[in-house]
Symmetry: C2
Subunit: 370 residues, 2 copies
Amino acid sequence: MSVVTVEVGLGDRAYEILIGPGLIARGGELIQQRLPKARCAIVTDGNVAAAHLEPLVESLTAVGNAPAVITLPAGEKTKSFSSLETVVDQIIAARLERGDAVIALGGGVIGDLTGFAAGIVRRGMNFVQMPTSMLAQVDSSVGGKTGINSPRGKNLIGVFHQPKLVLADTAALDTLPLREFRAGYAEVAKYGLIDRPDFFAWLEQNWQEVFSGGAARIEAIAQSCRAKADVVARDEFETGDRALLNLGHTFGHALEAATAYDGARLVHGEGVAIGMALAHRFSARLNLASPDDAARVEAHLRAVGLPWRMSDIPGDLPDAEALFNYITQDKKVTRGALTFILTRGLGQSFIAKDVPASEVISFLKEQRQG
Amino acid sequence: MSVVTVEVGLGDRAYEILIGPGLIARGGELIQQRLPKARCAIVTDGNVAAAHLEPLVESLTAVGNAPAVITLPAGEKTKSFSSLETVVDQIIAARLERGDAVIALGGGVIGDLTGFAAGIVRRGMNFVQMPTSMLAQVDSSVGGKTGINSPRGKNLIGVFHQPKLVLADTAALDTLPLREFRAGYAEVAKYGLIDRPDFFAWLEQNWQEVFSGGAARIEAIAQSCRAKADVVARDEFETGDRALLNLGHTFGHALEAATAYDGARLVHGEGVAIGMALAHRFSARLNLASPDDAARVEAHLRAVGLPWRMSDIPGDLPDAEALFNYITQDKKVTRGALTFILTRGLGQSFIAKDVPASEVISFLKEQRQG
Ligand SMILES: NC(=O)c1ccc[n+]([C@@H]2O[C@H](COP(=O)([O-])OP(=O)(O)OC[C@H]3O[C@@H](n4cnc5c(N)ncnc54)[C@H](O)[C@@H]3O)[C@@H](O)[C@H]2O)c1
Ligand SMILES: NC(=O)c1ccc[n+]([C@@H]2O[C@H](COP(=O)([O-])OP(=O)(O)OC[C@H]3O[C@@H](n4cnc5c(N)ncnc54)[C@H](O)[C@@H]3O)[C@@H](O)[C@H]2O)c1
Ligand SMILES: [Zn+2]
Ligand SMILES: [Zn+2]
């Protein structure tokens, strides 16, 4: 299987995403080609280190570039100020300069934290993403959004800091727990639902091969990266179009918050899956799209084993009013109206700026019962 | 006395610096003109709050924009991770959004810390500088460098984040301790010595009026801001020319480190003053410039009451070898050579990339005795 390259077109900050099996073990050579003199530090988490650190360290050492290694506990809690301080301190302790490189080897948590640290040490160092989770390969490693969580809300603190290179080793996903793989797949389906109906149809046919790890996996990841890179190139700093990437995320975030970010009940991609199904169902209810499209989305999510309705979440959920309050913590309600990503049909999502709060609440009531 | 405007030409990040007396009390109106809908938070320190907070709060409140206020302890220690976390948390707690504004009211410490916080909350909020120290008005508030210190070195952590507006209230400097005023003045003289010999000659004639606070003070600050803005517009991200601003800073930083950043012995601008005199003397020793220029620089620094030689620092200094080690902590020694800002004569500074370490050491030996 060959390696696919996706270009992220951002002028003098443009970079390549390489997608294919075995890229971690080629990290040394691939980084040295692009950043010939850079010394390196790797930031990773315990799970990923156990499965994938050794080949990367060996390949860097083989090109005469023995890296510093910083290993953090796995999990969302690591996206904190205190981990940021640790990573920053360790990068400085390794005496890396602005032209050296910090490598994130891990999922979205490690990528977001490490990119932020690389963005602020010496006001911006070289940064390389080596995403090892499905979610990180198709979403968080592309686009330069980095950051940590505040006790007052997720992802509120960070910078835009584009990587110099992204190496997505598609074979590394084989050690990922299936549930995490599936959660990342929700974001893959999302790109189809935003504006690529053909891609969605292709996924309906080929998802099993994506899961099992053949050429279709590389293809699905490459298509996802292209889709995200397109949006990012149009709107690097999220002042407009980039909001389309939040399809499914308004409902999804509210459900994550309502389950207290308890990963045992709901992980992010699962929230997004339910959120996308709800966004389609809500669009149908508002007579924007056909209920058949919503049914088709639900059927695909169900087929791959993702949750698609609120009752799929184990344990009790708060009532509709409380769910609505979680939504409004995320966004402003201006004169009784909210901004949502809705759809006019499969692959025809748009930014709706005047969704009446009352409609949202009655929709949530109906769904809570269903 | 009228207000002078200096434009910082940075394309879509361009902004104005207003310089004149009474601008703090006009803050509300001036900010509202530029950021009509922005809600505000003010970050300041105890000393500055006591002298200047009230008129600013009043003027914001008068335009219907009552601000949140975050007051920190005065002093360099405030440029830390823990203060950063506090400021970030308080900005989020005040529920400010990306389009709202964070105002730094204070010296360089408050400006650097606050700019960094504004740069990372929601990946970049509007930022307004209201510098109240001489150093901040002529140097740190211009150019978008923000940051905090690491236990392993000063200013190692931060971002480039340009303000939307700088309001330099020249009357606010009247409450500044004279020693701080003088230290900031060293950076004013620096702009003359870099590449504006006529400005240096003007300062030799007019420095007393700059200190006493007439039109000459506004003029000196405006010239300094223009000088810095020129360099920044040429090299926003410090990959070349911006290094000229480090004239006097290599020796100066070594002296600050050698006195353990003990402000009772040496504050930053004083280190810069001695450093500039040394850079001129060293250039003469290397036969790059005439010793008369060094003597002229020394005479002016002495006249305004700044220290200009190592023996002006109270207490013992380490020996030449130890001083040299402090220099190399700051910068790489590549094959026995260092980069310094040297001069070919008054106002003719340049970046010298191949200064032999041996010359630096013997120069330091000679100066330690002198
Ligand atoms: N920056 C962005 O644009 C962006 C976009 C979407 C999501 N995110 C962020 O991404 C994060 C979620 O990312 P995630 O789902 O990758 O979480 P994660 O990094 O916590 O990874 C999920 C789990 O899988 C483990 N893991 C990762 N790769 C593995 C592998 N190859 N083998 C075995 N275990 C492996 C991790 O240790 C972790 O336990 C969230 O913090 C979210 O906010 C960021
Ligand atoms: N960002 C940059 O480009 C840049 C450039 C140069 C220096 N700096 C940084 O600036 C900092 C030094 O700035 P500084 O000298 O302003 O230090 P500072 O902010 O500590 O101010 C010096 C002292 O003066 C007090 N003060 C300030 N304004 C006052 C006023 N009007 N009345 C009474 N007291 C007042 C402060 O409370 C403090 O005690 C350093 O941290 C340095 O690294 C940054
Ligand atoms: Zn997501
Ligand atoms: Zn300085």
